[in-house]
Homo-oligomer: 378 residues x 2
Amino acid sequence: MTAPQSFSFSVMATDGRARRGEISMPRGTVRTPAFMPVGTAGTVKAMYPDQVRALGSDIILGNTYHLMLRPGAERVARLGGLHEFARWPWPILTDSGGFQVMSLSKLRKITEQGVTFRSHIDGVPYELTPERSIEIQGLLDSDIQMQLDECTALPAKRDAIEKAMELSLRWAERCKAAFGKQPGKAMFGIVQGGDVAALRERSAIALRELDLKGYAVGGLAVGEPQEVMLDMLDVSCALLPEDRPRYLMGVGTPDDILKSVARGIDMFDCVMPTRAGRHGLAYTRRGKINLKNARHADDPRPLDEESDCTASRDFSRAYLHHLVKSGEVLGAMLLTWNNLAYYQSLMADIRAAIEAGRFVDRAAAITEGWERGDLPPL
Amino acid sequence: MTAPQSFSFSVMATDGRARRGEISMPRGTVRTPAFMPVGTAGTVKAMYPDQVRALGSDIILGNTYHLMLRPGAERVARLGGLHEFARWPWPILTDSGGFQVMSLSKLRKITEQGVTFRSHIDGVPYELTPERSIEIQGLLDSDIQMQLDECTALPAKRDAIEKAMELSLRWAERCKAAFGKQPGKAMFGIVQGGDVAALRERSAIALRELDLKGYAVGGLAVGEPQEVMLDMLDVSCALLPEDRPRYLMGVGTPDDILKSVARGIDMFDCVMPTRAGRHGLAYTRRGKINLKNARHADDPRPLDEESDCTASRDFSRAYLHHLVKSGEVLGAMLLTWNNLAYYQSLMADIRAAIEAGRFVDRAAAITEGWERGDLPPL
């Protein structure tokens, strides 16, 4: 089969508002709904790239902010791009850098032109404009590039939310112009507007007019209750074109994912499975398990005896507890592996359920499993 | 093929004083000269057990001191022993705990009876006698157990060295009695005597009379020059029985290994490849490479383009440099993997050379490779 030359999206099945689709691009196909493991600085932490792939990851995310500071976008380009650098020949999505400039950098200042800031690593000053963000993402050779936007932490005043949303719209236009025509790649716009329905509507409509290849919903899971997030998804998705992929940025828990798929979201990324894995927490079909808890110290049972994943099935809770308590690297390696395996198996489960027209029932059964909770202690 | 019921050692080929042998026991065969990766607290740090095995490791080492403190020997026994706990069904050698009591614990006190100390983790008091050390190693279900000994850091006064050596001999007898008859397992004695040839001789002769299944040379690589270590090996190996395996404890660099094999040593363990891997250092056929060095930042070449190991062959030095500089777990994972792969390929190389009667030439060629040094910068 010849690799496609252009970026395209097709919805193969729907079940309610949930969609089963495929994003096709030269480096590979992304089965949606998709979860994208976060490869912050060119590595999905504590995982070998082949392992990430073997779990069914069709695409990973790279963070422009981290990569522009270290090792530097021009360096990555000289080394053949991020795929070659990180030994991940399959699709990569990069964020714009904007979100982490806001959360990590020092002395940041936003103007119409862009954002200036100092590196949190060494204090070196940088400027990130919409054009530079797209340039960097191009140097990384990213397959799906995100517009630069301003994301407002919630709660926030309506004025501040509106101002950031309007600025983000103007930046979307500049990013679109900077991106130009690249048939095999895509630039996605980002719906902003905080927790204000009218602003979300304004943002979605304006972005839709830009006729972008895909749309993200940003500025959610930033402090608001889950119901507010879901309401904003309802508002946003209703106005986004049916024939373009929809990406909910930075979300979320398995429950967030189920509920967002039900509202028409196709793509997710989140640090939760990888970060939790480095902090002794396991995501399973029986909910979240804290391996630091002493109840596991003498428990010979694995996290999930029915899992296909070695980390979940072949190592005892007692051993995982020991590794976590001892600060052993293998603890982070095994729990991250378990967590990504669980997330990817959840996505496969969701995709199969949509195809079979049983999404609501399946989501209820999955939720029931979490609510039933972990195995009783021995 | 049925697993053997008893512990045995046979020398299949010799080349000068270098020996190519096999230690056979119910859990597997150890091809000697052998390098045993150190699995301190029930994990070879930053490696999955299957990876360690796939590199050609026939046996790993577990540290009694660490395991007795956490998770505790009785707990490991309840969980089915160390092999089951750590998912390593092949042979395991455990040290006696004595060496790390001396280097890590607090308020330690040695008497004829044994050693009392407080845990470096939580200050809990423990007593380790020769009998308790063997009991713990039995609870761990260790295949090769080491006698409790007192190891003197060098330089030291002759009186202190002699006293520790004589105490170690008396403890060897008590360990032998405590170990009793276990046909499928072995208890090794440890030659002590610091850098004093006459004391090494006295120790080796006395241990030989105990008719143990194997003998270690301990108390070396503890501060003395390499020539002194090699002299002590000459003295010790000459007096140890030809038909028992000889294990040089805690050694060493690849060069130490080559020179010790030439003197009749069959087994090695050392934290160097694993520890160095967590500190940005790579062992290769071109010597030791410091990945933190800026010369690697733009170098697309792998550590060793001819290696069979993914970590050595498929990832660029630029990427490894980036991972190490960024403190990414994957850096430790890849460099530890590379280092253990190099150590095990060195051992395979040594074994093949002894079999072919070309050990001296091969050792010279390997040494020449290290001395030629790393690739010139691009």
